[in-house]
């Protein structure tokens, strides 16, 4: 039982990061039907920007977080303008292919400039350390990351449910033409959505660096897939659903690994895909209400 609880607690750290990524992912997925493979690179650039500020330039940690957010914002919007806006309305698959192209470009540029090795991410001492609860170890980092995520999550859900912007986003996700007839400036709302999503990506990237103490050029590859699957499972365009699903994926994977024999631990990525196929076969619209037609 303790082992079980331990797995769940461990998963809360990276589960939170996946939840944040899933929230950002599902927003752009819902509003313009974009399955953004390049979001993993927005995440990565955010982490790298934070890494540069903190480890290379030795700036205080809060500057690192800011740098992460700004870095992610810049790259997220750049990709949107260059790769997504020109093909707006071309269908999900075209959008996906361009996002694949953008992802490959950014990832390889980073590899080219900074090589593929792990970069050490310095975290201030106060964030490391553990609490002990009987046999169970609780990492301070996990608590911090989890708390930040819950707070952001509450803010996001409030935004989406109770503000004009939120209604506009959900309206455009369902039917952009009708939203326009109600006076919604769809282009502007789409850009705002990308800004929010990039912000989330940058925060997630910085938190990841903090959690694992390192960043790497291809670090976005697996999280972006997890974020995508969480979006689908949660109901496309549903921020709450995406975040909950992010946690489900992480905790589920944690339990999955815990009960796998040692040599097969590398099969970890399979869990999310098994869940993906199960949901798509039995409840294709997702666990929560989707915001698309």
């Amino acid at each position: 039982m303790n082992y079980f609880i331990q797995q769940i607690l461990n998963a809360l750290g990276w589960g939170s990061i996946i939840a944040l990524l899933a929230a950002g992912y599902t927003m752009t997925f819902g509003i313009i039907g974009l399955v953004n493979f390049a979001y993993g690179e927005v995440f990565m650039i955010g982490a790298f920007a934070a890494y540069f500020a903190v480890t290379v330039f030795n700036l205080p940690f809060w500057v690192g977080i800011l740098a992460g957010i700004i870095g992610a914002l810049v790259i997220g919007l750049a990709i949107e303008r260059i790769a997504f806006k020109p093909v707006r309305g071309s269908g999900m698959i075209t959008l996906f292919i361009t996002s694949l192209g953008a992802s490959i470009i950014v990832k390889n540029l980073t590899l080219m400039l900074f090589d593929g090795s792990l970069k050490n991410f310095q975290v201030p001492k106060i964030y490391s350390g553990v609490y002990l609860l009987g046999d169970i170890i609780i990492f301070k980092k996990n608590i911090i990351i989890f708390s930040i995520t819950i707070i952001l999550g509450i803010m996001l859900v409030y935004l989406v449910k109770n503000t004009k912007l939120g209604i506009a986003m959900r309206g455009i996700s369902y039917d952009s033409k009708i939203s326009e007839t109600l006076g919604v400036n769809t282009e502007r709302t789409i850009i705002i959505t990308f800004i929010i999503a990039s912000l989330l990506g940058g925060i997630a990237g910085t938190l990841w660096g903090m959690l694992y103490g390192s960043v790497k050029a291809d670090m976005g590859a697996i999280p972006v897939v997890d974020a995508f699957i969480a979006s689908v499972i949660g109901g496309v365009g549903n921020v709450f659903g995406a975040m909950v699903s992010g946690y489900i994926l992480a905790i589920g994977t944690g339990i999955f690994i815990a009960y796998l024999p040692q040599e097969l631990v590398g099969l970890k990525p399979l869990f999310v895909w098994i869940l993906f196929f199960i949901i798509l076969i039995f409840k294709p619209s997702g666990l929560f209400r989707a915001n698309i037609k």
Partner: protein
């Protein structure tokens, strides 16, 4: 009688031309240009077979990497000399595999059949997924297959990969199969089956109403595509002489996707053109990637430059000319028909 004689004459002429061309090419090309030419041929095979699913049937699959892995590993198991299989690598495979080493043709056939099985296993659950979710499912298939390959070292030797593959690939294998594939797909495009494939891609509801059994044809298409994709993969590994779980990763699949998008997704000649462009691009840029000496300047390494430019090219094509170079048409050889 005269008509039959003419057809036979035409075929003899074509086959003769084929042998002549490739015999001379084999003599002329060496080293880099030979490798380039072989790569071009393999890329044609991969592009044309991917086009059947993505272009004609209209199901956008990026899961062919998984199919390639299955086909390639199977063939590798059969072609690696027994001494290596038993001694050096220490695989836990059925005895009859460890004890045999097959020549190329049976290895290709068996490997490709396994590739087809993998392809059908991929398509059956995924077939119920609509539009984009199918694409996502195929991505999952890719990831699942490479994760399995990496984490079952007793079967695949894990991340260390397989080496000691005999150097079977040559101009005859590659171009023989490439020409054959192009020929049958061109014929297919004009035949009932081919047109059924294309109609499924354009309007599946209408196709069904016209009596086309969607499931049956989709499976045929996938089977055909998986078969030749596996062949392409097997030819590839017997050219570069190694096989790792990451061999057919997303970057690899992406370059094949780029070929068919640039060329035009419904067009066979388009795929050939696309394959040519991408092959040339990749190989010409490869030395630049290594870094080189330019009039005394040491230009630094730029690893991944090819991939970046390829990605940029793809995005450019999708923005400016999304239907690709050829769209859905083929290069017309009508002027040849006038030669009597």
């Amino acid at each position: 009688m005269k008509l039959e004689k003419k057809i036979v004459e035409k075929y003899i002429l074509m086959i003769g031309l084929f042998f002549l061309t490739f015999y001379s090419l084999e003599k002329l090309l060496i080293g880099f240009s030979l490798t380039l030419f072989l790569l071009f041929g393999i890329n044609i095979i991969l592009a044309v077979s991917l086009n059947i699913i993505n272009g004609w049937i209209g199901f956008f699959s990026i899961g062919h990497g998984g199919i390639m892995l299955v086909g390639a590993y199977m063939a590798a198991f059969l072609t690696i000399p027994t001494s290596f299989k038993q001694g050096v690598i220490n695989l836990h495979l059925p005895a009859f595999i460890l004890n045999t080493q097959l020549p190329f043709l049976p290895a290709i056939l068996i490997g490709s059949i396994f590739g087809v099985v993998a392809g059908v296993i991929l398509v059956l659950p995924a077939i119920r997924l609509k539009g984009f979710y199918f694409c996502a499912g195929t991505l999952g298939f890719n990831i699942i297959m490479s994760t399995l390959a990496e984490n079952l070292p007793k079967i695949t030797n894990g991340p260390m990969g397989l080496r000691h593959l005999p150097s079977y690939t040559n101009i005859w294998w590659v171009w023989g199969i490439a020409v054959f594939l192009v020929y049958i797909t061109l014929m297919l495009k004009k035949s009932y089956i081919g047109r059924a494939f294309i109609s499924i891609g354009k309007d599946p509801c209408l196709a069904e109403h016209m009596g086309i059994n969607l499931l049956k044809y989709k499976i045929y298409a996938f089977g055909l595509s998986a078969f030749f994709t596996s062949i392409g993969a097997i030819l590839w590994i017997h050219l570069i002489l190694n096989l790792f779980p990451t061999a057919f990763d997303l970057t690899f699949v992406f370059s094949v996707v780029t070929m068919i998008v640039i060329g035009g997704m419904g067009s066979i000649s388009g795929s050939i053109i696309g394959a040519a462009i991408v092959t040339l691009f990749t190989e010409i840029l490869a030395p630049i990637e290594e870094g080189f000496n330019f009039f005394g300047f040491q230009v630094p390494q730029a690893l991944g430059l090819t991939t970046i430019l390829l990605g940029a090219l793809l995005i450019l094509v999708l923005i400016k000319r999304p239907e690709g170079i050829m769209g859905e048409r083929e290069i017309s050889f009508k002027f040849l028909k006038r030669i009597k």
